[in-house]
Structure formats: C-alpha cells, structure tokens
C-alpha cells in the first residue's frame, strides 16, 4: 500500500511540475499577475509530494519490504538500519528520486529566500526549474519507477553493494546532488535573464549567492567522494581520473569560472553574455555527468547493470536542454552585450584569463572522457584515456591559473598600471620560486614537478599573507579588531578559498612525490619496513559483522621503537551477494597517513599485505575544506542580506494587505 502511495504521490508531483513549468512562463510573457503567482504554490506542492514519495521509498527500505523490486535488489534484513536508509540512493532509481527531491528542495528554497525578486523574474525562474523537473519526473515515471512491485515478494533481499556500505557514501551522493542540481538555479536565473532581455548588477547579485552555495556543495561532494575512494577502494589513491570523477569535476571547473565571471558582472557589469554561457554550460555538464554516471556507458563503481532506454532518455533530455538554451542564447544574448569597459591591465583581464583557462581545462577533461565513448560508438576500436593524459594537460593549464589567481587581487578594477603592481608582488614571487626549489632539494626529491608544485604553493601562501596585510593596512589608525571586522566576509571567502588551493597543492605535490608503498607476503610475527615505519603482523582472526564475515588482521605500527598505532585491515565477504571486499585501515596524522590493506591468503597460510605511506594527504582534504568554507563566507556576505532587508518592508506590507 505504502509503495503505491509513493508512486501516486510521484504522479501528482509530475502534474504539479507541469503546472509550474507552463503557467508562470505564460503569465510572465502576458504579464498576468494571477498566472505568475501560481509558480510558488505549485513548486511548494511539488516539493511536498516528491518528499512524501521519497519518504515512502525510505519506509519500504526500513521495513525491508521485498515485494518492492528496488528494495529487494538493494537491501537485506541483516543490513544495518543506517545503510538500509542510505540504500535508498544506492542505485539508479532511488538516486534519481533523490535528484528530483533535491531539485524540488532548491526550487522551494528559491520561493522562500527570493521574496524580493520582481514577480515577473521569479515566475520565469520557477518556470524554468519546473521544466527541468518535468523532464526528470517523467524520466522517473517512464523508465525508472522505484516502486515497481516484485510479485510474489522475495523472501530476502540482495543487499546493497558492499562498496557503498560506508559512512562516506551516506553523505557523498546528497552533497554531490545538491551541487549538481544547485547549478540548475544558476541556469534558471540565466535563462530568465535571456527571456526578459534584462541583466544588470542586481541580477548578478541575486544569482551569486545561489551559484556559490551550489559550488560549495559540489566542492564538498567531490571531496567526500575522493576521500571515500582513498580509504574504501583499498589502494590508497585519491583521484583516478575515472570518467565518473571527471563527470563531477567538469561542472566544478566551469562552476568555478562562473562564480568568478559573476563577480565581474556584479561589480563592473561586464562579461554578461559570457556569464550566461557559463551558467548554461555548468548545468549542461551537470546533466552530462548524470548521463555518464546513470547510463552505464562507462566502466565504474557507479555503473549499474543498465537499461539502454534510460541512457537514451537522459541523452534526449540533455540535447533538449542544451539545444533550447543555446538557441535562446543565440537569439537573445546580443541584447545583453555592453557593460563596463576595462583596460588591458586590470582585474577584469586577470579574471578573464582564468575564465578562459578554466573553460579550456574543462573542455580537455570533456575530450578525454568522451573521446573513447565516441570511438566505441562509431565502431573505431576501443581505447582508454588514463591519468597520464589528464596530468600532462592539467599541470600546464593550471599553473598559469594559480599564478594569475594570486596576481588578480593586487590589480584594481577597470585599469591599473603594471609597473607598481609588479614591483609589489615581485618579492613574493621570487621568494616562492626560491622556496619551491629549495624545499624540493631539502626533501630529497628535486624533480621539476615537485619544484613547480611547491613554488606554486609558496606563491599562494605568501601572496595571501601579503594581501591580508595590505587589506588590514587600508584603515590606518583603527584598532586591529575593528580592522578585522571591517573586512567584508566576501573578501574572507575569496582569501580562504585561494589559500585552500595553496594547501591543496602542497598535499597533491608531496603525496605525489614522497608517497611510498610495498606489497609484501607476511606471516604471524613477521616484520616489514616502509618509510621508517615498522609493521609487525600479529595474525588474522575471524570477525563477523551484521551482514558480512571478515578476516581481521592485526598489525602493530611503530617508528624507531615507539609504538604508533595498531591497525586492523579486513577482508570481508558480504553474505547476501557473496562479494569480497577489502576494508583498509589507516592511522591519520597531520603530516602523513599510514595505510594498510589486506590482500588474499596464500596456500601456505601467509597473507599478502599492502603497506602505504602517504605524506601530507590530509592537506588535500584540508585545502578542499578551506575552499568550501571560503564559499560559505562569500555567500553569507552582508550585502546579500541587506538586499533582502531592503525589500522586507515591501513584503511586510504585502502580508498586511
């Protein structure tokens, strides 16, 4: 009964999304207030029904209702409750329902937080979001109904893919989807601007916090996904340039370009059509990511046994979204041109340079990800494009981005003179090259790549420090606390996010250069040495989990005789699917992780053990966290709230009436 209610509620949501897609857009073009006003309740109603439907599916998982096919395939009575709940988005149908729920959530957020938007504009934004919602709900109902019954019901479920039974997987998909789908708001704002032909600083100011928040979620989602791959896949890598990772990284790159381009549009009114194009691009890449992940065209953890119909449907959706929005762009964008002019040496130029580079980087990832698919589809042979390609392209493209990124804030908007600025930054620049080269020799790994990485990181840190000092010096005479408070949080956001890149580069460079690993055969009492750490194998015990049996090893880790940690890597066998799984164990430290994973048992009773020494890997996560934190600061800047307050009296008046 409850699954049917969920299904029915999804149908109602679909009907409401049709209303939301059509009525407000018609109202906006004919200027009928009554029609435009339909958007808000339709969006809120749609959210209610999608959420109810999601709750019904969750309920089926909690109660282990194996007469629902999706539940029977992805849950089991022995699965712990929290993995039964996260199993809801453990595969195709449920994760699409999550997509729809997140979209509805963003739409409701727009109706709640954008009271100050002009009615016509809000109607258009809601209409565009409604159109996207129509597409996804239709997709769910037609090809991927999660409430499909399995009659007679299965006595026991097949259980969730063991790789996904992990805390990281509880939060990774929702975060990532909040990011992906969040770009739909930026997209809707851009399309609404094209429809109205009006795009000014106010528009950019409305659009900016939404885009930044979506970017924060995407950053956090990618970071958690990367962390999960690091400790769950059992071989200690943190980024594999896997098509699915690229699928989330491409919208991130373009989204990063977008938030910077929006900054120029807000402050200077320039780059308008470029901003619109980036918003369309970021959302299209989010859809493409969904297509790549969900259609099963690629080999990956995310590729479930699939139905070609589904891939076709998303491809169709993708073509419609990109086609219609680019047509609209070609037709309307000329009206948006203009805006503040700027000199060749100006902050705008630095931002433009980075925008171009980030877009090219995104395109190069797109090429590397799609080219094998194209060749295969055309029957021209099978190829794969691996990490060496992406690394060869990425390092030269990102080096100027990082240099410009720290140079830009020293430049004034509109125009500046190059000489004095260069003299200001020269000491930091020269010092960072010296530090990079010196540090590379000091750690005994003087390769060009290590020098480059460390020099870039030093440049980011030194220039950040210089920017902070300069900023504090802007109000001479004031107390230092007042000076700190005087800096708007948007500035702190930029500063933190840029500093985060520096920390991230330190992590990437050092883990890449100094990382050590050893595969070794070990028996009880045996000792192995790696990077100054000594590992003593204490044997393997049987251990049982709720839905798996494990062989649990014990290793004592010490360094120069001092005990550091006792690690318990496991080899698990999940009962329902008979699927083996390696569960690594690690000792996390600020300057290094020690990582152990258990391989297979050999006939003579010894075990294969993989030992890894991962210096500075935590700095990668720390850097990403700083970037996300920076985004939060930027989005919470007072001027966005002021904008809301200024129109609050109007809202109050409306309510009183």
């Amino acid at each position: 009964m409850i699954p049917e209610l969920g299904h029915f509620s999804l149908v109602l949501a679909f009907v409401l999304s049709l209303v939301q897609a059509v009525v407000p857009l018609v109202g906006a073009s004919r200027n009928r207030a009554a029609l435009m006003a339909v958007g808000r309740p339709a969006a809120q109603g749609q959210f209610f029904f999608v959420a109810f439907s999601f709750a019904c599916l969750t309920w089926a998982f909690i109660t282990s209702d194996f007469s629902v096919e999706y539940v029977a395939l992805h849950s089991n009575t022995a699965t712990p409750l929290y993995y039964r709940i996260t199993g809801v988005w453990g595969s195709h149908e449920g994760s699409l329902l999550l997509w729809a729920l997140v979209l509805a959530l963003w739409t409701v957020a727009v109706t709640v937080f954008s009271r100050h938007l002009p009615d016509v504009f809000l109607a258009r934004v809601l209409g565009v979001l409604g159109c996207i919602s129509v597409g996804f709900l239709a997709f769910l109902l037609v090809t991927s109904n999660p409430f499909e019954r399995l009659l007679p019901g299965a006595p026991e479920g097949r259980d969730l893919n063991p790789l996904l039974q992990d805390p990281g997987m509880i939060i990774h998909p929702p975060l990532l989807y909040m990011g992906y789908v969040g770009f739909s708001v930026a997209f809707a704002f851009a399309i609404a601007a094209l429809l109205s032909g009006r795009m000014d600083a106010a528009w950019a100011r409305w659009s900016r916090p939404w885009t930044t928040v979506a970017w924060v979620f995407l950053t956090a989602g990618i970071t958690v996904g990367s962390g999960w791959a690091y400790y769950e896949l059992g071989w200690g890598g943190w980024w594999f340039w896997d098509p699915v990772e690229n699928a989330s990284f491409m919208p991130w790159l373009l989204g990063t370009a977008l938030i910077h381009s929006l900054a120029v549009t807000e402050k200077r009114g320039a780059f308008r059509s470029w901003t619109v194009l980036l918003a369309i691009g970021a959302f299209s890449l989010s859809l493409l990511g969904t297509f790549l992940v969900r259609s099963g065209v690629i080999t990956s953890v995310h590729a479930f046994a699939t139905d070609p119909k589904r891939g076709l449907f998303i491809l169709f959706l993708l073509v419609v979204v990109i086609g219609v929005s680019l047509l609209l762009y070609a037709w309307r964008a000329p009206r948006l041109s203009g805006g503040g002019s700027f000199a060749f040496v100006s902050r705008e130029t630095a931002l433009l340079g980075n925008n171009v580079l980030l877009s090219v980087a995104s395109a190069s990832v797109l090429l590397g990800t799609l080219y094998p698919l194209f060749l295969d589809a055309l029957g021209m042979g099978k190829i794969s494009v691996g990490p060496p390609y992406f690394e060869a392209v990425f390092v030269p493209l990102m080096t100027p981005v990082v240099v410009l990124m720290m140079f830009g804030p020293f430049l004034r908007w509109k125009g500046d003179t190059l000489g004095p600025v260069l003299r200001r930054v020269a000491p930091a620049f020269v010092a960072s090259i010296a530090i990079g080269v010196g540090a590379a020799f000091a750690i005994g790994h003087a390769t060009p790549r290590t020098m480059l990485g460390l020099a870039l990181a030093a440049w980011v840190v030194l220039a950040s420090a210089q920017q902070l000092v300069a900023r504090l010096g802007e109000r001479p005479g004031a107390a230092s606390a007042a000076r700190l408070r005087g800096i708007p949080s948007a500035w702190w956001g930029m500063w933190l996010a840029h500093l985060g890149i520096g920390i991230f580069i330190i992590g990437v460079t050092l883990v890449g250069s100094l990382n050590q690993s050893l595969d070794v055969k070990m028996r009880e009492g045996q000792r192995a040495e790696l990077a100054g750490y000594s590992f003593v194998f204490r044997g393997v015990q049987d251990a049982a989990g709720p839905n798996f049996d494990a062989s649990r090893a014990t290793l004592d880790v010490s360094r120069s005789g001092v005990a550091i940690a006792t690690l318990h890597p496991e080899k698990r066998l999940y009962r329902a699917q008979g699927m083996p799984m390696t569960e690594a164990d690690l000792d996390i430290g600020p300057f290094r992780d020690v990582y152990v994973s258990l391989g297979e048992q050999l006939p003579d009773g010894s075990w294969i053990v993989s030992l890894y020494y991962k210096p500075f890997i935590s700095w990668i996560w720390l850097g990403c966290a700083l970037m996300a934190l920076g985004g939060i600061f930027a989005a919470s800047d007072r001027r966005y709230r002021k904008l809301a307050e200024r129109s609050a009296p109007a809202a109050a008046a409306r309510q009183a009436a």
Binding site: A305, T349, I383, G386, V393, Q577, M579, S597
Partner: protein, 148 residues
Amino acid sequence: MKPRSKRLVLVGVGVALLVGAVALVLNAFQQNLVFFHTPTEVAAGKAPTGRTFRIGGLVEVGSVQREPDGVTVRFAVTDTAKTIPVSYQGTLPDLFKEGKGAVVQGRLEADGTFRASEVLAKHDENYMPPEAAHAVEQAHKAGATVKP
C-alpha cells in the same frame, strides 16, 4: 589604445592561449591514448610492442599461479579463441576470479608475456567490464571454437 585595437589585442591573446592549449591537449592525447586489443589480435601480432595497451577477456580457469615471493602473480587471459599469459606484481582486485572477466593494462614483453601494470575486474557480481565482454564476443563472431 583605442577601444577597437584594445579589443583586438584581447582577442589575439585569447586566440593564442586557445591555440597553445589545443596543441598541448592534442599532443598529450597522442602520447597517452591506451588502445585495447583482444587476445586474438595480440596473438596475430596486431598489438604494438613497446607501448602500453589493454587486453581483456576471461581469466582462464586453473591459470592463476603465485611466484614464491607471493606478490608476483601469473595468469592467462583468454577470449576463448586465443590465450595470452600475463604476469603482474601487486594486489589483485577483490573481484578478480578464475573464469570471470578482467581487463589488464601493460606492455607486451619479447617472450610473448604481457607484463601488467594494472588489473581491473568488475565492480559487482552481475557486471562484466565492457572490454572483456567485447573480446569474448569478437572471438565468438570469428567462429573460433577450438582453443589453441
């Protein structure tokens, strides 16, 4: 500078950047593409020597052997028509099993052994790497039913 010539300079710099980036991408592409070959193609000498490529198929039943050091593994990958011996140093993926699909990346040695740097197996029980499935399918299409 006049606005017009300023715009020209900007466009020029942009185009130069783009050309540089495209050259970089294509060059990296040329050098780092990894081609896929079926065991039949490798046996026919169609695979490149001295260059990394991938082979795929089924891990032949009874072929997995460990060297005394424990970490070097030898096995054979077959598309049911031809079989290629593979050697690999390291930990095998959890779902690597005899009789199941696998994709192996590495180089072909002079003695005909494929020295693998990476072994990929499927990610869940009912999922076969497309390359492995493709290799077996090709062999069946060729009508080769007799094993060498």
